[in-house]
């Protein structure tokens, strides 16, 4: 018995050595960090890949490679043909899509990323103003590694600022939602600098419009649990116009469908904030003064939110997910679930009752 057991172990070890997994040794790979997709004439794709390659002779760690093909898988083959290393996608952090391409729909490209088991779910998707390859191949004086730079810049904007996150899994979730649309950061290269100050609005898989990051602040409040960000607001108190900066601490939103037949939503936002800066000398320690300022901020936020909702309706996009809420209400009243086009049609001419309540928690360190 002992002997057979030994033999079994011996065979196991021998088999193990024979059936080694396919190696993906770091130095034999080109580790893609960022990928860009552009459309060039006759429906072909131009793919740009920023990747690390381990080569003791190379002066630069990061290499950019570009090639054309008909599909994104085809791009991979083209790239591998051009490169001395096998280019792999496991380290991709950012994907950039040309806006022209995005207007025609990017779902096949995005699905391709999500189907590949080696590519993570936390890849940031972005839209580029102009060509993606322009952004990725440009030599920036500040950084030699555009891939990581882009990644960190987006992450910083999403975590600390008003930019709306669009990781791969978030995009997929929004896309597959009936009655909700995805958004993405809209990036632009201006000479040697990258600007991430717009948000691209999608209608299903197609780019349909853009809003500023300022508007993004209000969208973010309506879309997700958001508790950061600063906002400069133009106020009118006692016929005086001045600026103030508030720091957003937390907010709660409540969206309700009021009328099923003629869609009307009540959008309630309860916001807690603190005042960072006051251009004018107003004594905030006096309750009535504070109350006035609070009222004025409320009014301003309400106006801007209404403006945003109007803009979204004009573009016929629904990043907030009104359609979803509408659909649930329909199902609750016993009607059948709508598909995405019906849903979009149904809330086309919807009305919004916006109600904003702002609570000033603190007034900064100076009274």
């Amino acid at each position: 018995m002992k002997r057979t057991r030994l033999l079994a172990y011996y065979l196991l070890v021998a088999a193990l050595l024979h059936g080694c997994g396919e190696e993906q040794v770091l130095e034999k790979l080109g580790l893609a960090v960022a990928v860009g997709y552009d459309q060039i004439g006759d429906g072909r794709l131009l793919g740009t890949t920023v990747f690390y390659q381990i080569d003791p002779e190379a002066r630069q760690l990061v290499t950019v490679i570009a090639g054309t093909a008909n599909t994104s898988k085809g791009l991979k083959i083209t790239h591998n043909r051009e490169s001395s290393k096998k280019i792999v996608g496991g380290q991709i952090r950012v994907a950039v899509y040309q806006d022209e391409l995005a207007r025609k729909g990017i779902l096949p490209l995005v699905e391709n990323l999500s189907r590949d088991a080696s590519i993570g779910s936390n890849v940031y998707l972005t839209v580029a103003k102009g060509r993606a390859s322009d952004i990725l191949t440009h030599r920036y004086p500040e950084t030699s590694n555009i891939g990581i730079y882009l990644y960190q810049a987006i992450r910083q904007n999403v975590n600390g600022e008003n930019m709306i996150s669009s990781k791969l899994h978030e995009f997929m979730k929004d896309y597959y939602a009936v009655g909700k649309d995805p958004v993405m950061p809209y990036i632009e290269r201006v000479k040697n600098e990258l600007h991430i100050d717009k948000i691209a609005l999608f209608r299903d898989e197609r780019l349909a419009g853009e809003i500023s990051t300022r508007e993004g602040f209000f969208l973010k409040i309506l879309r997700e649990r958001y508790n950061k960000g600063e906002l400069e607001i133009n106020l009118t108190v006692d016929n005086q116009r001045f600026f103030t900066v508030i720091e957003h601490i937390s907010s709660k939103k409540q969206i309700k469908l009021l009328d099923l037949d003629k869609p009307r939503f009540s959008v309630k936002v309860k916001m807690t904030a603190q005042i960072q800066e006051m251009a004018e000398q107003i004594d905030l320690s006096k309750p009535e003064e504070l109350h006035k300022v609070q009222k004025a901020i409320q009014l301003a936020v309400k106006k801007e939110t209404e403006g945003l909702l109007e803009k979204l309706r004009k573009h016929q996009v629904d990043p907030v997910g009104f359609g979803e809420i509408y659909n649930i209400a329909r199902q609750k009243s016993g009607k059948k679930k709508l598909n995405r086009d019906e849903c979009r049609e149904a809330i086309k001419r919807t009305q919004f009752d916006v109600d904003v309540q702002v609570k000033i928690l603190r007034t900064g360190v100076i009274g």
Binding site: Y9, L12, H18, H169, M172, K173, I328
Partner: protein
């Protein structure tokens, strides 16, 4: 050396509290990696209710099983068959059970290897992975019931650790996705619960470990405790899945739980799903070991072979059977078959057996 003769006997018994871990460990295996889409297919957002119903069904079935076991003092199902039906009919019934148990061991083994091949090593031949896991299984099963209980214990610990990681996808929860609640009638919900059966069976193990449990009067408490743990686990996973994925997405996800692990990140480690898949080995190992052990006892019982020889025979059969299941289709087929058969064997047959015992045997029989 023959000196630990005294202790060898105590290795034959396990304390009753371990029954909880054995039941839970044997229920949770490979099914939890991707059962969600099958249930979603039937009852959409109400899938979690179907899970609760399935959980309740397990409590009822286990109650019946315990009733049967209580009728006899110290027998397992193989012996009970012999007592009730006589020698030859019992052999046939036992053989059916052995085949069923081996089949479910096979589905678990093949299911895990399929995950390994799709996510990590597509090119490693499956016979090799088979062989290595089966060798591990032989080593474990020959250790006796105490070792099996130990593996279950640690497997349950690992399951709970992995459950904590559900916090990551839960951050992206969209509670609208659960709306409208209770939108399906009972028939649909029961159908969904039936779809769950493959992933929630395994508690039939109590029919076989019963003679090895100390303090049998406390057994039911721990068995139901284990079942409750499993139900809770599945409900949590199901809820998080429903909140994290859109239904349309979920329908196409073979391993939804693993997809959720993709977003888990630590500062020193990204792409947690690779760790998770590796750790899953222990979670599925206890199922494999316990099923092989049950099959081994069965073959020993009906054939009179020595346990060790029976085990080797079973493992060889498993090895070749597993190599026949090369494609995804064949794996789905066997999973479906054993899921369906399992439903009748686990939920229906014990009731039949109990009625037979009540009708044809007067009083309790003791041996």
């Amino acid at each position: 050396m023959g000196m630990s003769t005294i202790s060898r006997h105590s290795h034959m018994f396990i304390s009753v509290s371990l029954a909880m871990f054995i039941v839970h460990g044997n229920q949770v295996g490979i099914g939890i990696a991707g059962v969600q889409r099958f249930i979603y297919d039937r009852v959409q957002q109400d899938a979690w209710i179907a899970v609760i119903i399935a959980g309740l069904m397990t409590h009822v079935a286990a109650w019946v099983m315990l009733k049967i076991l209580r009728k006899y003092k110290n027998l397992d199902l193989y012996d009970i068959h012999q007592m009730v039906f006589g020698k030859w009919p019992a052999k046939v019934l036992n053989l059916i059970f052995i085949i069923y148990i081996m089949g479910s061991a096979l589905t678990i083994l093949r299911g895990y290897i399929e995950i390994i091949q799709s996510w990590m090593f597509p090119e490693v031949p499956s016979w090799l992975l088979n062989a290595s896991l089966l060798c591990l299984a032989i080593y474990g099963v020959t250790g006796g019931i105490r070792v099996l209980a130990g593996i279950s214990f640690f497997s349950v610990g690992l399951t709970i650790c992995q459950l904590l990681l559900m916090i990551y996808p839960a951050q992206y929860a969209d509670f609208n996705l659960l709306q409208p609640v209770f939108h399906h009638d009972l028939v649909e919900l029961l159908d969904g619960a039936r779809k769950m059966s493959f992933s929630i069976i395994g508690f039939e193990i109590i029919l076989f470990i019963y003679p090895f449990v100390k303090e049998k009067q406390l057994l039911s408490r721990y068995v139901h405790g284990g079942l409750l743990m499993t139900t809770l686990l599945y409900v949590v996973v199901m809820l998080v899945t429903l909140l994290y994925f859109q239904g349309e997405q979920l329908k196409h996800l073979i391993w939804a739980t693993l997809m959720m692990m993709k977003i888990v990140e630590f500062p020193f480690l990204e792409r947690f799903e690779f760790v998770s898949i590796s750790l899953w080995m222990l979670i599925m190992l206890d199922n494999l070991l316990l099923n092989l052990w049950v099959a081994m006892r069965g073959v020993h019982h009906i054939g009179g072979f020595k346990e060790r020889k029976a085990l080797i025979g079973i493992v060889i059969v498993m090895f070749f059977a597993s190599n026949f299941l090369e494609t995804r289709q064949s794996i789905n087929w066997i999973t479906d078959v054993f899921g369906a058969v399992g439903f009748y064997i686990i939920f229906v047959y014990p009731l039949v057996l109990y009625i037979v015992i009540l009708l044809f045997r007067k009083g309790t029989v003791q041996t």
